[in-house]
Symmetry: C2
Subunit: 330 residues, 2 copies
């Protein structure tokens, strides 16, 4: 006999966090997101506007705007490519370029698709700024000879909450770690950024090419960790990824759009600081060295909130996304 | 100075498999997909039509059909729910139901959204078949007292190619393993199916409810392994997932569509054997005990094909998707 579903909304059939009907358990074992909400202002770190890349796509079919916001990584990670990206943004390079590839369970890629010149029969591409750096492959990861140097770069795995170290899994992908709000993998003396969902990376040609930064992509499926250390990660999407992940998949090879008319145009990409005053978005991330983050990470690895029965006992680093939110207005 | 991009097509900027320009390296270190293509017919296992669930959504805005095909798991996994699903399909239960939830980097969920009866003020739901089984939580995983019993169920991790065992990572999520074409996690005496991208599971209410099978979901983001053992996995999408993963994200809580008019209607869900003769799709999967699968898994874990520089040395089980393809016509 089917139970009456009157008092249970559709959301009760959801596979995640509990509803108000479970108040008692919620207090004892709050969900990870509820834990994040308890963090005091002091545990949130403002993201500098200059670390934000603001991408505006052409409006959708209903005329609605589509803005995607990217947070760039801090030093010492991927700085050569990030420096190039800043120059490309300042030069308004991406204005009029497009989304060129959407491959299911893999990436969305964008940049200059080139112009097929019917006279020359060749594909011409937009001129890049002349002062872009050629970045060596050694920059895919940061290596130092001693853990003390790591700490100089604020990558101190042993200084992380012991609880975080206990929940992060170690594998051939490296040991998971968080530093200054970013997920990293560590192995030996090296540290490198990881290809979690929403990570932004630099498209390149075959080695030794490492890409200029003019072609970018983001992950829209299961974390392709085999790309770590093989290609530069420069940041992550912190708002608006749905504008990319919900795009029709390209029907050409590797998800490229065989039909050029299917490429969504990019109106502009600007650094946050270059937007008109008052319009630059303000964001903050949860300090990964904070007490609340440690509790949050533990809760992600051990779900005890009402919906769950059996906590996993650990989590891979991409299953503990670092909380990022808009700074609420006064 | 920008290199001339004339002879390098856009695809060369792709982040995956190499192009024809790299023939020599390709032969020495073929890509995982190229390895799969070398498998002889004897290493492909036909999927019984009765193991296929064929979901037809309403056509898209351009009038194009949208078919999603699901392969159901074999015994002994999740058979209670799968039995219910077969009854629901035979009863055409899902005809006229809808896609109700699309949450970015998480799930797409579908089933009966209910009808808000204005007279009673209550949400009424479709009647379920009367003979559905109530499945206990113990069925989320399969546990046996000895490894011999595992082998009786064709779950013999030690009989897997040693190479596969060497590449699959072990973590709190369990030890990865493949059995009869399915990814599993093993821990102690238990084995359970895993929430990889495209896995299909059974929506439920709070424990002890385990769901009837009437509400189903699939994973469209990073594998939420914390759901393993907490909810039933009954199969995987083997074709057409893009029709779900590219849907607009719901704007309500947890990605539910607050606006009922946004729910994509489901025209029908049928078992493969119930479709008109000659229209049932035919699929096959690569035998996970085969020699080629072992090579493929090793290549997924150690990318040496031309694009790559540094093989990871291992892979998580969701990063080694089991190859499934349509059986080619005569």
């Amino acid at each position: 006999m089917r139970k009456m579903a009157v008092t249970i909304s559709l959301a009760a059939l959801a596979v995640t966090t509990p509803l108000q009907a479970q108040e008692t358990q919620k207090t004892e074992f709050p969900s990870p997101n509820a834990i994040v909400d308890t963090a005091p202002a002091s545990e949130w770190v403002t993201i500098a506007p200059s670390d934000l890349l603001v991408m505006d796509l052409a409006p959708d079919a209903a005329g609605e705007p589509r803005r995607v916001i990217i947070q760039l990584m801090p030093a010492p990670f991927s700085q050569g490519w990030i420096g190039n990206i800043r120059k490309l943004a300042a030069a308004k390079f991406w204005d009029g370029t497009s989304i060129n590839r959407v491959q299911d369970n893999y990436v969305v890629q964008w940049g200059d698709a080139g112009y097929d010149n019917p006279e020359s029969g060749e594909t011409e591409q937009k001129a890049l700024p002349e002062d872009l750096e050629t970045v060596p492959e050694s920059e895919y990861a940061i290596g130092e000879s001693s853990k003390n140097d790591y700490c100089g770069y604020h990558v101190c795995p042993l200084n992380n909450s012991v609880r975080i170290n206990q929940v992060l899994t170690t594998s051939e992908y490296g040991t998971g770690s968080f530093s200054a709000g970013w997920p990293l993998a560590l192995q030996g003396n090296q540290a490198w950024p990881v290809h979690c969902y929403g990570a932004v990376g630099v498209g390149r040609n075959y080695s030794p090419d490492t890409g200029s930064g003019a072609e970018l992509y983001t992950v829209i499926g299961h974390a392709p960790r085999h790309l770590d250390r093989n290609i530069a990660v420069v940041g992550r999407i912190i708002e608006g990824i749905e504008h990319l992940s919900s795009l029709p998949r390209g029907k050409g090879q590797l998800g490229f759009y065989a039909d050029a008319s299917k490429r969504v145009p990019i109106t502009s990409i600007r650094l946050g600081g270059a937007l008109d005053e008052g319009t630059a978005p303000a964001f903050e991330y949860l300090d990964t060295n904070s007490e609340v983050f440690a509790k949050y990470a533990d809760a992600r690895a051990n779900r005890r909130d009402p919906f769950f029965i059996k906590p996993a006992g650990g989590a891979d680093i991409c299953n503990i996304p670092v909380p990022v939110r808009r700074v609420s207005g006064e």
